[in-house]
């Protein structure tokens, strides 16, 4: 069953067609990668689906319901969460407090102003479990601003994960981190996402990462979907290789020039 479906979705910025008639489906528990050259519309697409940007036309269906007009908060409550290309955290709060906020929000407790947050032991225990899942338990009491880029990226995803979403958008979760950290970050994310049966849509430039973790790859160009298929199908698609690498032919994605 499709968890997410977009029908002829459009988002234009003047003459720029950031999202151009995109019809996309994502099945439950699927791990989908969105790839494409810079400016292809990958981030714009997830911005529109997550309600950061309003769409110009088209429809967004989530669990079969039309959510095109719903607000960010309504989409979060429905089960859509996301991380950001540029890490978006509460920098003055500790890693622990960042995660507890997400849990309080999910449980509808953020309106409570008559109890001390740190005395809610159930929430504290859950926050510690989330931090452990993301290998951040050692950074529990450090302010978000003091974490390394890789840790900040993981915490960004951990916040979204703590909402227990049905659908998780990850916008370049490994950008700006070293090659060694990239593997660790993606292993951690993949293990949590697969382990919990969360549907994930990831925007990523590193094709090694994309081929390794994806069930399906969607290639975008100039706001539209150019091709989609399994990692093997995409590897052997010359048109995709030309767009992404500027060259085609057998093993284009594995050649090291």
């Amino acid at each position: 069953m499709n968890l997410l479906e977009t029908i002829n979705l459009k988002k234009y910025f003047g003459d720029t067609h950031a999202v151009d008639n995109v019809s996309l489906t994502v099945a439950e528990r699927e791990f989908v990668s969105l790839v494409g050259p810079n400016g292809a519309g990958k981030t714009s697409l997830i911005n529109v689906i997550s309600a950061l940007l309003p769409s110009d036309s088209g429809k967004i269906l989530f669990k079969g319901e039309d959510i095109t007009q719903s607000t960010v908060t309504e989409r979060v409550k429905a089960g859509i969460a996301r991380s950001f290309q540029i890490v978006n955290l509460f920098d003055d709060l500790t890693a622990f407090d960042n995660v507890t906020l997400a849990i309080f929000s999910r449980q509808g407790k953020t309106a409570n102003l008559a109890a001390l947050a740190h005395l809610d032991h159930a929430v504290s225990a859950e926050a510690d479990t989330v931090l452990r899942n993301f290998n951040l338990v050692g950074k529990r009491n450090e302010r978000a601003r003091d974490l390394s880029q890789g840790e900040r990226k993981l915490l960004d995803v951990a916040l979204a994960y703590a909402l227990r979403p049905k659908l998780l958008f990850l916008d370049e979760p490994t950008s700006g981190v070293s090659t060694r950290d990239k593997g660790q970050i993606m292993d951690t994310i993949a293990s949590v996402v697969r382990g919990e049966g969360i549907t994930a849509v990831i925007v990523e430039h590193d094709m090694d990462v994309v081929f390794k973790y994806s069930d399906r790859i969607v290639v975008m160009q100039q706001g539209a979907i150019l091709a989609q298929g399994t990692p093997d199908e995409i590897k052997n698609n010359d048109q995709v290789a030309m767009v992404l690498l500027g060259s085609s032919g057998p093993d284009a994605f594995t050649r090291k020039d």
Partner: protein
Amino acid sequence: MQNTPSRTGPSIRLIVACAIPILIVLVVLPRFIDVYQLQLFTYGLIYAIAALGFNLLLGYTGLLSFGHSAYFGIGAYSAAFLVRYFGIGSIEVYILVGLVFTGLISAAFGYVCVRHTRIFFGILTLALSQVLWTLAYKFFWVTGGTDGLRVAFANLTLLGGLIDFKGRNAYQAFVHSYYYYVLFLFCVCTLLMWVIVHSPFGKALQAIRDNETRAQFLGIPIRRYRWLAFLLSGSFTGLAGILWVPLNGLVTPDILYWPFSGEIVFMTVLGGFRTFSGPIIGAIVFNYLKVYAVASTAYWQFLLGAVLLVLVLALPTGIVGTLSRQFGKLRKRG
């Protein structure tokens, strides 16, 4: 008391251990100072309640209001109207009625203001407070205009009529009793505000302050929480206005005018708006600074401005912010 939590949140034991000696000093203080000084200190505590409320918006929600004189003034005028038009002398009635009016005005003004942020929010709060000032100034047949409304301490009763102030040394008795009354409410307000800022709601406000977009993507209803913070902030400031009237004995439109909003901002910034206790210290210090500047020269605004300029340049994180930083450095060295 930094607003960033430690290992498992703020240590309640440590806070109680610090608060008890301070409270003891405050309780015995009237034995060691004269009536005038006690009166000054009571003003300081009242302004501290106003600054605590103001800082829920500035320090914890990231919204700079230039119109908090409105809520202080509404509280003050509510009490004065009860005296003038209903002959009521009970401070408890002033508080109940005044809080209802302040709450209603804060709710209405907040509804308009929190739709905007940054300078637009500041300008809106300023404009709305000026509307109230104009009403108080122009509707003199109701408000007394620039002559104001008198609230004589002699007609005042505390604790539902248990304490009144008649006969010899009535003023001294009033100042003493009123100090303890204000001190009690100050402690209640401080405790309430401490719980609020350390509650899940308080954490959500800090999240909104730090990163509105991310807070939204955690499902936090930004505008509703800003409005609630505004309502609470206005109500605390309104309570301060109610308590201020009997001590001051007179309320005039000056209390609704924008320079008083500026004074509330200054108190908070002077103490340090990134700390919980900063606004309290800032309010008490500012009150002394202003009183002694006024007493020492006709150009008191110039003197006060110069002193404040030096303080702000030398202590950019406020008095408490600077002290905590120095204390932190010393601990690291030790």
